[in-house]
Amino acid sequence: MVFKQGSKSTEVVMHTKQAHFENIYQSNYQKVIRVCRGYVNGNEALAKDLTQEVFIKVWQNLSSFREEASLSTWIYRITVNTCLLQFRKKKYLSDAEVFEHYVESPEESLPSKEEQLKKMYQCIQKLPKTNKAIILLELEGLPQKDIAEITGLSHEAIRVRIHRIKNNLTKCVQNDSI
């Protein structure tokens, strides 16, 4: 009887955890996939795979979330770290290499919005790993204080880096050099 009650309460805890996870998944999917896209050059299929990996990690670490940080900061940390970790896999490596050799034709002096976005993804690929995370979070509109908390760098260091990356990224999109 005691055993039955125990297994029933375990079941209830499991259901509550699943419902909580479902809620987190629905409300954070968009922002996770947008950051993931930045890591795979805008490739939607790869971004979806990465997003799935991120939510697997979210589920596996859900019980260790202590609310010392906000849920959003916690999810962004897992997203960036999972992207770093998954990058060792062949499918993500080879995709990054393909775009590293991409050269835009010179006659495209006035690129359309879509082409500019494509170029932006390519320029982001050229950034070192931490700078890539910083600019993706900045593009998401996160306050610098939160970016500092996610990356583990000081607020001042983030401010300086963002200024530099913004300039480099803008130059790269306009002139194809970083």
Binding site: W59, T82, L85, R88, K90, I150, T151, K166
Partner: protein, 184 residues
């Protein structure tokens, strides 16, 4: 609006991807299937180990010293290598993904530095031990097998070793590339 603000607004206006219907349930299913695969892998490793031990006794290897040492070296090298890979996978899976990006990056970098030591120090030793074990078995093979089969064992052994080395070299190159990417 500055050039960067313009880029930022374009970034924000990208097409939105809706979360898949039942996406969360699919993830939970995938986690369960990964757990099952891990159980199967553990089972396969346990069965392989048991078969190797059974084979050792089946051929009464313990009665012939050189055969016994040769087989033990080969089995030992193989088991040690599997153990190393297993602990590496465990180390990757237990990394704290909710740590700050910088400390997580340092964690991955030290993981890859440890892997580098495994690749450049332990792996050559393991291959050498495996080869010594194989060579120690050859006189016993020559004695008990036909000339054709003996030659087949030598040639296939060399080819297998060569293919294995090529495969490992490719994996090592890939891991070093990841380490280089993390260090920039």
């Amino acid at each position: 609006m500055t050039a960067f603000e313009d880029l930022k607004s374009q970034w924000g206006n990208q097409n939105q991807s809706e979360p898949p219907v039942d996406g969360a349930k699919q993830i939970l299913k995938q986690i369960a299937s990964v757990r099952n695969k891990q159980r199967i892998t553990n089972g396969v490793l346990a069965v392989t180990g048991s078969i190797l031990i059974a084979f050792f006794f089946y051929v009464t290897a313990y009665k012939f010293q050189s055969v016994m040492i040769g087989l033990l070296l080969m089995i030992g090298a193989l088991v040690f290598r599997i153990g190393l890979e297993y602990s590496s996978i465990r180390a990757l899976n237990t990394m704290n993904v909710s740590a700050s990006v910088e400390s997580f990056k340092n964690e991955i970098m030290s993981y890859y530095k440890r892997r580098k030591k495994v690749h450049f120090i332990l792996t050559p030793i393991i291959i050498l031990v495996y080869c010594i074990g194989f060579v120690m078995l050859l006189p016993a093979f020559k004695e008990s097998l036909s000339a054709g089969f003996y030659n087949y064992i030598i040639i296939s052994g060399i080819i297998t070793l060569f293919v294995l080395c090529l495969f490992m070299a490719r994996e090592i190159k890939k891991e070093l590339l990841v380490l280089k990417g993390l260090m920039d």
